[in-house]
């Protein structure tokens, strides 16, 4: 259904446009210099900052009431855990440099506590994993912790370059990961364990083996003098906030974009408030599920690809633990499970005796939880936690439930590549269409996560600059 702005909105837009004309004579003298960026996550903000450095007028529009997108620090909780982007890799050059330039201090994060296991309903101390009767792996595989099984892909990773995951000669690997792993000799029990907490697909049959090769290859390739991961001392969201504050024009918050029309001389974005914003080009820097809600002039083939990309499902329950209930029994404090709880990451809150505990559930296991309301979802997770570690009950409090799939402006945590999508889909979703350009982690070539967002902003800014030169 086409969106029709209200009469009041049209009037407001007309007034705003006329004042903009009075206030900025450059609109007349320097046509082709205004860019509207939709989305104030890292990708949109990075593109905006680059374009401003190059003399463009940039207007950033954000649907949420905050900047940062899928970088979201839970500032209301002790320890300020990360509800979104949480790891800055040692080779995240753009992230590290931007933080340095904007005086956002980074640190090596406090280490997560050691992880024990809960497999097939049995709890297993980490030192007993290799010999436990509950370890389902065959003899040659038993000593590998379940979370490290997928890393065995790097023993024979065919991706020898950053771009290789698109190469036609390697497309045999663009197959369902469960079948591919079996063909490579992974035992069924290993495949089942990998599937239990696969961060790169909602289930292995709908995950491309190529995507897993790509991830593992990236993990294996670090550069730079420091190998330790980093985080912002005061929370990762301080980085996008600092980027936004550096822009000449304040980010427009709480303004979902309904449609972007292509005009003879540029683009016109219509906001949910009814206002319109005209520019010479638009960068769409938002996740694909959010992009799908905007009416766009795109070729049908590109729309079809955009409709076909899955996003990863994550449910997180962020808790605070007052006492280390795990110590008396010799547990480490974190757990890797093949059940409802997925993985439990616990780490000390610096400068206190308390701990942040994040229960991190991946993939299709999120479906029944996402069908519940917040209270029922939280209760279901807590009941499973009390069953696993009854001692947690009296010393653990809930701080925040995070469900990216249920967020209409995210639709999931990151883009996934299903079997058959490695070759063409990635190129198609980021192809510029007239004056519409695309950014976001899903469009990046070399990286994933926060660095991918930054990388994509660079590329989109360059494309705009070429187009408007």
């Amino acid at each position: 259904m086409a969106y029709t702005p209200s009469r009041r909105g049209l009037l407001q837009a007309a007034i705003a446009t006329s004042f903009a004309g009075v206030g900025n004579g450059c609109d007349i003298a320097a046509p082709g210099r205004k860019v509207v960026v939709v989305g104030a996550g890292l990708s949109g903000l990075n593109a905006a900052l680059i374009l401003e450095r190059w003399g463009f007028e940039v207007e950033v529009i954000e649907a949420k009431e905050r900047v940062g997108g899928r970088v979201w620090t839970l500032d209301h909780m002790p320890g300020s855990p990360e509800g979104g982007g949480n790891v800055m890799g040692a080779n995240y050059g753009r992230v590290i440099h931007t933080a340095h330039e904007l005086s956002v201090p980074l640190r090596n994060p406090p280490q997560a506590l050691p992880s024990d296991y809960a497999v097939g309903g049995e709890r297993i101390l980490r030192q007993h994993w290799a010999t436990s009767d509950a370890n389902p792996l065959p003899e040659a595989w038993r000593s590998t912790p379940p979370g490290r099984l997928i890393a065995k892909l790097n023993a024979d990773n065919p991706l020898l370059s950053t771009r290789a995951w698109h190469e036609a000669k390697l497309m045999a690997a663009d197959q369902p990961a469960d079948e591919g792993l079996k063909a490579l000799g992974f035992p069924d029990a290993a495949i089942r364990l990998i599937n239990a907490n696969n961060s790169y697909g909602n289930n292995l049959s709908e995950t491309s083996l190529m995507a897993l090769y790509r991830i593992m290859g990236e993990f294996g390739r670090l550069s730079g003098p420091a190998l330790a991961v980093k985080e912002a001392v005061a929370g990762n969201m301080r980085l996008p906030e600092a980027m936004a504050s550096r822009l000449r024009r304040r980010v427009a918050l709480g303004e979902p974009v309904m449609s972007i029309n292509t005009l003879s001389s540029g683009v016109q974005a219509t906001l949910a408030s009814g206002q319109t914003v005209e520019a010479d080009a638009a960068i769409l820097a938002l996740p694909i599920p959010a992009l799908r809600q905007i009416i766009l002039d795109l070729p049908p083939s590109q729309l079809a690809v955009l409709d076909d990309v899955d996003y990863h499902k994550i449910v997180q329950l962020h808790c605070v633990v007052d006492e280390p209930f795990w110590e008396a029994a010799g547990w480490g404090g974190s757990w890797w499970t093949d059940g409802l709880l997925g993985r439990i990451f616990t780490r000390p809150i610096p400068g206190s005796n308390r701990y942040n505990m994040t229960i991190w559930i991946n993939g299709d296991d999120c479906d029944p939880l996402n069908a519940l309301d917040d209270a029922a979802c939280t209760d279901a997770i807590l009941q499973a936690l009390w069953q696993l570690v009854p001692g947690a009950k009296d010393v653990t409090s809930v701080g925040q439930l995070v469900r990216w799939s249920n967020d209409p402006f995210a639709g999931g945590s990151w883009a996934l590549w299903r079997p058959g999508q490695a070759g063409q889909a990635h190129g198609a979703i980021r192809a510029a269409a007239g004056r519409l350009f695309f950014a976001g982690e899903h469009t990046a070539e070399a990286y994933r996560g926060m660095e991918a967002a930054m990388e994509s902003g660079e590329r989109a800014a360059l494309e705009v600059m070429r187009s408007l030169s």
Binding site: N91, G93, T98, H100, S161, E218, R221, S223
Partner: protein, 125 residues
Amino acid sequence: MIPGRQTRCWLAMSACLLAAATRAAPPSGEQLYDIACLSCHSLGDAADHRVGPPLGGLLNRKAAMVKDYRYSEALSASGWSWTLPTLLAWLSDPDTAIPNNAMNYVNPLTAGETQRLGEWLLQQP
């Protein structure tokens, strides 16, 4: 001092002319460095917070020779020196130029832009 109306008009016109002039030109070497290199490489001669080695004084410098920087074995063993042909080969496709290098990077520049960037980089002290 608050500028008078005439001065403000002149400033506005200058800004507009500058913008229009910039608009007509393709990205300069410096702008291409800004977008393609700056986040990971300074132009000085000493390693800083950035994850890549500095690029100052690059012309005829042997590859993998910046003190205290941890290079890949592949680049260290390459025997390369940085001249326009080697730099263009590296920038165009680092993985093909020296496989198993540590620079996880896909060059978004056109061949012409890469040439302009390479020429500019080699002039930096």
